[in-house]
């Protein structure tokens, strides 16, 4: 079991607040980690740091053994919570873009997934609905054979049918030698695909562990645990 991600006391401060106060965790290959917490708890900040969109103010992390930087971007596939594709692009343009920029991009898979998501090649981003854009982004993110997938709230703002498709896609993409981190506060829909869970609040990890173990030890579903932990925050 290779270690895909290891963070050591990762910190991030902004002028007005401390978004992350020292997060240390380890994620092994073949595992799916659920990162859960309320809005503003630091989930997105954490993912952005790993993706390279932000730089830590303290601590460090390695991806697949490599120190954060240019090299790690090759191994990390990030799905943000907003649209980042250029409005002028069509689905096919977006696929071409990923194909050109990422060596690990699987074009065939992307075209297949486009069909699976019921998207057309010529649709332009500026005419797509929010749900369609999210499906396109998901297609692009998952057509890469990355070592680490970071999904920031992949289920928000999507109808239940699409949510099922997304969960399906996540399971389809899972491999033994990659790892996936899913940040969400819609715990109910996805808790059974998590191997590991991490509850984060106010920039700190409150509870981490194996999902199955926690469930049996405490006799609660992860959803119920979430409510228990965050109900008075």
């Amino acid at each position: 079991m290779a270690v895909i991600l290891e963070t050591d006391n990762l910190k991030k401060n902004y002028f007005s607040k401390q978004a992350l106060r020292g997060v240390s965790l380890k994620l092994e290959s073949g595992r799916i980690l659920g990162l859960m917490g309320p809005n503003g708890s630091g989930k997105t900040t954490f993912l952005k740091l790993i993706a390279g969109l932000q730089k830590p103010t303290g601590g460090k992390f390695t991806v697949f053994g490599q120190r954060a930087g240019f090299e790690t971007k090759k191994h990390v596939s990030f799905l943000p919570d907003r649209n980042t594709l250029y409005p002028w692009m069509s689905s096919l343009d977006a696929i071409d873009f990923y194909d050109d920029f990422f060596d690990d991009f699987d074009r065939e898979k992307a075209l297949d997934m486009l069909d699976f998501m019921k998207l057309k090649k010529d649709d332009r981003v500026k005419t797509m609905s929010k749900g369609m854009i999210e499906k396109l982004n998901l297609t692009l993110t998952f057509s890469r054979k990355a070592k680490l997938f970071l999904l920031d709230e992949p289920l928000g703002g999507v109808d239940p049918v699409a949510r099922e498709r997304i969960v399906s896609t996540i399971i389809k993409t899972w491999t033994e030698d990659s790892a996936i981190i899913i940040s969400t506060h819609l715990v109910n829909d996805v808790e059974h695909i998590f191997n590991d869970v991490a509850f984060i609040g106010d920039g700190e990890l409150i509870l981490t562990g194996d999902a199955e173990t926690l469930r049996t030890e405490r006799g609660k579903s992860i959803d119920q645990l979430y409510i228990q932990i965050f109900s008075d925050k």
Binding site: Y14, F15, Q54, K74, F78, T84, W88, D100, F102
Partner: protein, 284 residues
């Protein structure tokens, strides 16, 4: 870097076509007025035609100047301040590839504006020549004159000027990119970062020019550039807006060399710094 250029140009396509359309239309309007004038027998510049030409040229030149600054910086404002820049920050490409690619794409874009402009200016020059000789010169003969005597005869000089233009384009770009990236690296607010960027750009340009001039005065490095413009073949370009121009223009320009070298070095340093900052410091 090639992919960066490709997608940058693809993204700008709409904007480029729109601008070319605008330039085309305003100049076409002016020219149509001129042709109409000529067709009804006018042999000197009417106020209306003159005004239209002035307006069209002004519009065209404004576009050119604004685009000079935006294209040279590779539209760095779009790179640093929009959600779509997430993509650029997550692709495995070095800072110099991103900035360099955008600079090259910017140059290609700018040339797409400049070349039509040259054609339009030639057409105007030919038109004035036709008027200047009271219609004795045919339009196409006038165009031939423009290309032969203005462009072909001074080809080497124009080439040097072109090189100079490229140099200025790249330098300006490096300065603006650095100012933008530096401001964004250290300042969170978009408005504040933009303002600081502009101030930074002006300060650095001023400082660099002063340094260059001082050094060249110290060392006395100058280059003489001869420029000649033989225009007496058709009795001068009379009727040019107002007044007349003399038959031949021949001049020697003494250009201090050191500022250019200083600018070159500074531009290279600023570009390197901007690239490093892009990779290590810029956050979204």
């Amino acid at each position: 870097m090639l992919e960066i250029i490709k997608y940058q140009l693809k993204g700008r396509l709409q904007a480029i076509l729109s601008l070319l359309l605008i330039i085309g239309v305003i100049n076409a309007v002016a020219l149509v007025a001129g042709i109409y004038d000529f067709a009804i027998g006018t042999r000197s510049l009417t106020p209306l035609f003159g005004f239209l030409i002035f307006a069209a040229m002004a519009g065209t030149w404004i576009v050119a100047i604004v685009m000079f600054f935006r294209c040279s910086s590779g539209h760095v404002n779009e790179l640093l301040f929009k959600d779509t820049s997430y993509l650029m920050l997550t692709v495995p490409r070095r800072g110099w590839q991103i900035l360099g690619g955008r600079l090259v794409a910017g140059l290609a874009e700018f040339l797409m504006y400049v070349l039509p402009m040259l054609v339009i200016m030639s057409v105007y020059a030919a038109t004035f020549t036709v008027y200047g000789t009271n219609g004795k010169t045919g339009f196409f003969a006038a165009m031939a004159f423009v290309y032969r005597d203005v462009f072909a005869k001074n080809f080497l000089v124009l080439l040097k000027l072109f090189g100079l233009g490229i140099f200025m384009f790249v330098s300006t770009g490096a300065f603006i990119m650095f100012a933008g990236v530096a401001a964004r690296s250290f300042v969170r607010g978009k408005k504040l970062a933009t303002t600081i960027g502009i101030v930074l750009f002006l300060l650095i340009s001023d400082w660099a020019t002063k340094l260059g001039t001082w050094i060249s005065e110290m060392l006395g490095w100058y280059v003489n550039v001869p420029i000649s413009l033989a225009t007496n073949q058709f009795g001068g370009m009379k009727g040019f807006a107002s007044g007349e121009m003399s038959g031949a223009i021949g001049q020697q320009f003494a250009i201090p060399l050191a500022p250019f070298l200083i600018f070159l070095v500074i531009s290279a340093i600023l570009f390197a710094c901007a690239s490093w900052l892009m990779e290590r410091k810029v956050e979204l």
